[in-house]
């Protein structure tokens, strides 16, 4: 458990596969870890009324969002025996096929990481004030809503 100030979870634009690979690499010195579980949210090229989503533009109430990410983090560490937890979310434009959310949990044992990851992802979707404008190929848009 930590009581540090909220970190900034947001990063501009898409989260790259190199960033994710490098984050995995950094955990190979932590030899008490037996299981990692990673969730990646990827922007879908959904077709809606004949138009295809080409990107999502993310905005957020950043201060509140970082506080919520922090609360979710503290709550997950209290509930589950986790060694590490990392959350990254995009702001700005993320194209279809690119990654906008990266959640990474690690623990000595596997049962813990499954429960923890789902808990964290569901909490992010429900509680964090992030907004997504789905941009169609013809530059019209609609607003994304989590379910």
């Amino acid at each position: 458990m930590t009581n540090k100030k909220p970190k900034n979870v947001f990063q501009p634009g898409a989260i790259t596969s190199e960033f994710i690979g490098n984050s995995i690499y950094k955990h190979q010195t932590k030899t008490s870890i037996g299981a990692h579980n990673i969730f990646l949210g990827q922007v879908r090229a959904d077709e809606i009324d004949g138009k295809t989503v080409s990107a999502i533009e993310y905005t957020a109430y950043e201060d509140m969002a970082n506080q919520k990410f922090h609360d979710i983090r503290e709550s997950a560490f209290a509930k589950f025996d986790l060694t590490c937890m990392h959350i990254y979310h995009s702001l700005g434009t993320v194209k279809a096929g690119e990654i906008c959310l990266f959640v990474f949990v690690s623990s000595p044992r596997r049962k813990v990481v499954f429960d923890a990851l789902e808990y964290i992802v569901e909490a992010i979707k429900a509680e964090v004030p992030v907004f997504g404008k789905e941009i169609f190929e013809d530059e019209s848009h609609q607003w994304k809503v989590n379910n």
């Binding site: 004030p129 992030v130 989590n146």
Partner: protein, 77 residues
């Protein structure tokens, strides 16, 4: 009381601004909302939650003077 109000996501398509400071005469969140509904006609048709000082609050919560934010449905991840 002077209150700073922030608008997010699709609500900014109605307000055309992201932030403003208004003089509010009421005591409760719902009174602030009545003021905003008068100012922005179509705001009432939109689905949103209200945060005061970065915490979600009900319409019956008292205004403290802290920052208010109008938050449309979340779409993180």
């Amino acid at each position: 009381m002077q209150i700073t109000i922030k608008y997010f996501g699709q609500l900014t398509e109605i307000t055309h601004i992201e932030e403003e400071t208004l003089e509010i005469s009421g005591t409760y969140i719902f009174e602030l909302l009545e003021t905003l509904y008068r100012k922005y006609n179509t705001l009432k048709t939109k689905d949103f939650q209200v945060a005061q000082n970065q915490e979600l609050v009900s319409k019956e919560t008292e205004l403290t003077g802290a920052e208010i934010a109008l938050l449309p449905p979340f779409a993180g991840g």
